[in-house]
Structure formats: C-alpha cells, structure tokens
C-alpha cells in the first residue's frame, strides 16, 4: 500500500512491510530504508523526466537507512515523478514486493 505525506510536505515517502523509500523535494536526496530482516537490501528510485535514479540501503541493521543526493534527477515544481521502494533480490537485481506512488513536485 502506498502512503504519501500531506501536499505541503517536502518529503514524499512510500512504504510497505519490507521497505521505506523517501524523496526530499528540497534537498534532492533519495533515501532507502530496510524494514525487514531478510538478508536483502532495500532500494528506492525516482523516475522523472530526467531519468531513472535508484539508491540502496547499505546498513545491515533492521530499519537501517541510506540516503544519497540525486540533484540530477530532481523534478521541477509542477512536474510529475514516480517514487518507488522495494527489496532487492541481490543475485539478479530484480525488485521484489515493490510499492510506488506518483507525485507532482511542489
């Protein structure tokens, strides 16, 4: 199930049992958080008109988070982007149990 923050917020997040992914529309950072001890990394991506950018949680602790700058993919105010979070199948890079939401950049 996708969840979103209120319209005035600057951080958008999607979440399910396994992963939490957030995008900061002001700081242009993407954060991937792992919510489940399963031996897999979680991943977060934003898909905007400037391409597809994904980051991964590198913290082995349950509920660990990793954030990265993604200025190059930052959507301009009023443009639409998709935020997605999943748990990564390490062997082949496939996305399992994905959750996503579509937003208009504020």
């Amino acid at each position: 199930m996708a969840t979103s923050t209120p319209a005035h917020a600057i951080e958008r997040c999607v979440s399910n049992t396994w992963a939490l992914g957030c995008y900061d529309e002001v700081g242009y950072t993407i954060e991937a958080c792992d919510k489940n001890a399963d031996g897999r990394r979680s991943g977060t991506s934003i898909d905007s008109s400037d391409g597809y950018t994904e980051v991964f949680d590198t913290d082995g602790a349950n509920n660990g988070c990793t954030g990265e700058s993604a200025w190059f993919a930052a959507p301009f105010p009023g443009t639409i982007y998709t935020l997605r979070a999943w748990r990564q199948n390490g062997n082949y890079g496939s996305q399992e149990n994905p959750v996503q939401g579509t937003y208009t950049a504020s």
Binding site: D38, R40, E54, G60, E68, S94, Q95, N97
Partner: protein
C-alpha cells in the same frame, strides 16, 4: 528427526557430519511425489530461482547426509542436506567499461558505466571441492552430473553441456541471438536460455550506491529452449517492452516443466513454443507475497513463506502456521520437515552477515552449514546455487 547444533569447525577445513534426516524409504516416496509434479510451480516464484531455488527430482539416488563447511569462506567442500546440495556458487566484480554524459535539466551528469562479471565455481565430485570455471554462466542439472555452461562474453553465442565428472563439454549448440543466462527445466530435460541484445549486467553508476538509467526498450529479445538430449535449440522471440529499471537483466524462468514466465509478477508466461499462456490455477498461492523461494514441501503439504525473519511455514490444508523459523529466508526443502535457509549471526545485528543453515519447520533446530558471509548483500560475496541431488 533429531538434529543438534553442530560445533564450529576449529580450523580451516571442512567438517563432514552424517545424520539420518529421512529414512531411505521415505526419501524414495518424497522423490516420487516430486516427479509426479507436486512442486511444478516451485521455481516460478522467484526471478532468480535458478540461482538459489531447487529443481524437481529426476529419480536420483536419495541422500540422507548433512555436509557442512564452516571453516572456509567461500566454501571449499560440499554443502548439502537431504535432497539438496550447493552445486555451485558465483562471485561478482564490477569493471568499468566506459563513461557517459547526460544533459539533464539542472546541468550535466557524468556517470561511470560498469559491467558485472561473474566467476563461477562448481562442485567437482572427483576432487570433492568447488573449482573455479572459465564459463560466463553455469547451471547444474538435477542429479549433479551435468551442467549447462555459456561460453565467452555475455550475451554468449554458444551453450555447452558439461560432464561434471570429466569437466569436458559433451556437446555444444550455437545460439545466434546470444544468451546471458541458462537454467535447467525442473524435469532436467530442457535448458532455458534468455537472450539479450547486449550485456544485461551493464549499469551506469553515479557513485558506488547510486545507479542511473534512461528510458528505452528492454534489451531482452526472447528465449531459447534447448533439448538437452538432442541438443537442438528453438528461439522464441518475445515483445521487448520497456526497460523497467537501471538494471536491464530480466531473465525468463521455469514456472513448470512446460511453462516459462518472465516477470516478477508473472504477468507474462509462455509455453515451450513461445505461445503466450495463462498461468495454471494454484499459481496465486505461490505469489511473491505469500510464498518464498523454497515453495512447496516435497510432499506438497507445506508452503514456505516469503523472506523476512521470522519466516513461516503454512499448512496448506488448514491454512494455519505449521511453524516459524528464526532465519532470514527459506531457500529450499531438504526434506518434508527441514529447509535450507539463510540464517543470521547471533541476534542478527547485521542481516547481511549470514550463512546457509538447516532449520526445522518448528524452528527449534538450526544447524549452520557454511561460514558467515561478510556482506551477503554484496555482489562480490559468494552466491549459492542449490540443486537437487
């Protein structure tokens, strides 16, 4: 069955412990059920089932031993429990193959293009150890006698069937469209090879932890079905669809001995002639949210749940929990009461420090089979391939 915690190996050598985990007669029955198709959907659960899934038995002699190697990282001697063995493993390394520049709205983005190269190690029955190979892809057939191998840089133009006893290729077949993965069918009769126009493990990196991609069509062009007896191949082109992520690899996999699927959600499935087909009834039960990589037990009565500690095993008849297990992920059924799983070290302060373990359905018995991997989430570590013996 009784299982006690095995002691750690005191030095760098393997330990070999033999314990009965099923009476031989029961194992024969187990394999008979397997061949009857009770688990025909098992390998359809996970997109990388060829790497850490299991295959249906093909009548191979039953094995009732447990073999461990806790002293070597990666393992050197056979790891096995019940009907399943670690037939092979791979390690990966990313190599720079170029640079890229992208004009984006807020400036110029420079990326480094890297390619993941896998080094494959296969268990040698002759030397009782895992040996490095020259192949760009390896998949061992049920029974551990043969392996399908791809030659040269991916996508490979040639597939061979290797005799694991002699390490000689029994026969080759050309793959004109190129293939970048190969996996045996659950019944061991056919080999599925996914074709790509270009190397599917080539990715643009912004930094070590950030990947970038542009929109485009998928380089996946279709799949080959190779008859392992006659060594004839048929290529089935498949509509390409959009590239979904920065990582182009999206291998087809077996949903049953006669059905191929190609997406995480199984939206696409094909018969061996490449015709689109509906997934068989019952597949929903094995969907990603409900079932894990291990799938159905050999007798078909239990269903292993998805990854995430504690894992669960469900009794299919009642729908109730048959047990929970203190492990990260259930990988394969060793017998009807035990599974090979990925287990954490100690209290799991770091989920990426994990090892292969044997766990009972009730979760009370956990026996470590391998050394702990330093970072199980890394491509550089060893990645086990489990196969029915």
């Amino acid at each position: 069955m009784r299982s006690e915690k095995l002691p750690e190996a005191p030095h760098r050598e393997s330990s070999r412990r033999r314990r009965n985990i099923l009476a031989p007669l029961a194992l024969v029955a187990t394999i008979a059920v397997m061949t009857a198709g009770a688990v025909t959907l098992v390998s359809g659960i996970s997109p990388d089932s060829q790497a850490t899934g299991t295959r249906a038995a093909t009548g191979a002699a039953p094995h009732d031993d447990v073999r461990t190697d806790m002293g070597n990282d990666p393992p050197r001697s056979l790891i096995a429990a019940g009907r399943v063995a670690m037939s092979a493993y791979w390690t990966g390394s990313w190599q720079e193959v170029g640079k890229a520049e992208h004009k984006v709205s807020r400036g110029t983005l420079n990326t480094t293009v890297k390619r993941l190269t896998r080094t494959w190690f296969v268990y040698s029955p002759l030397n009782d150890t895992y040996e490095q190979t020259q192949w760009s892809w390896v998949d061992v057939a049920p029974g551990l006698q043969k392996a399908a191998v791809l030659e040269g840089e991916l996508p490979s133009k040639r597939l061979g069937v290797l005799d694991l006893s002699t390490r000689k290729v029994l026969s080759w077949i050309d793959l004109p469209q190129g293939a970048a993965s190969a996996t045996w069918s659950p019944d061991g009769k056919n080999i599925l090879a996914t074709s790509y126009d270009r190397h599917p493990d080539e990715i643009e990196f912004v930094n070590a932890n950030t990947r970038y991609g542009t929109k485009g069509v998928s380089p996946r062009s279709g799949f080959f079905i190779v008859d392992a007896t006659t060594m004839t191949a048929r290529f089935n082109p498949v509509p390409r669809g959009d590239k979904q992520a920065a990582h182009p690899r999206n291998d087809f996999r077996w949903a049953s001995p006669n059905l191929i699927t190609g997406e995480t959600n199984d939206a696409l499935s094909f018969d061996l002639d490449g015709e689109a087909r509906a997934m068989p009834s019952g597949h929903v039960e094995l969907s990603e949210d409900k079932a894990g990589r291990a799938g159905l037990s050999p007798n078909g009565k239990l269903l292993a749940g998805p990854a995430g500690m504690p894992t669960k095993v469900i009794d299919r008849a009642s729908g109730l929990e048959a047990g929970t297990q203190p492990v990260l992920e259930l990988l394969a059924w060793a017998d009807d009461e035990h599974l090979i799983a990925l287990g954490c070290e100690d209290r799991c302060a770091n989920e990426f420090r994990n090892a292969l373990v044997l766990v009972s359905v009730d979760g009370r018995e956990v026996t470590r089979l391998s050394s702990y991997r330093e970072d199980g989430g890394s491509d550089a570590t060893w990645h086990p391939v489990l196969t029915l013996r």
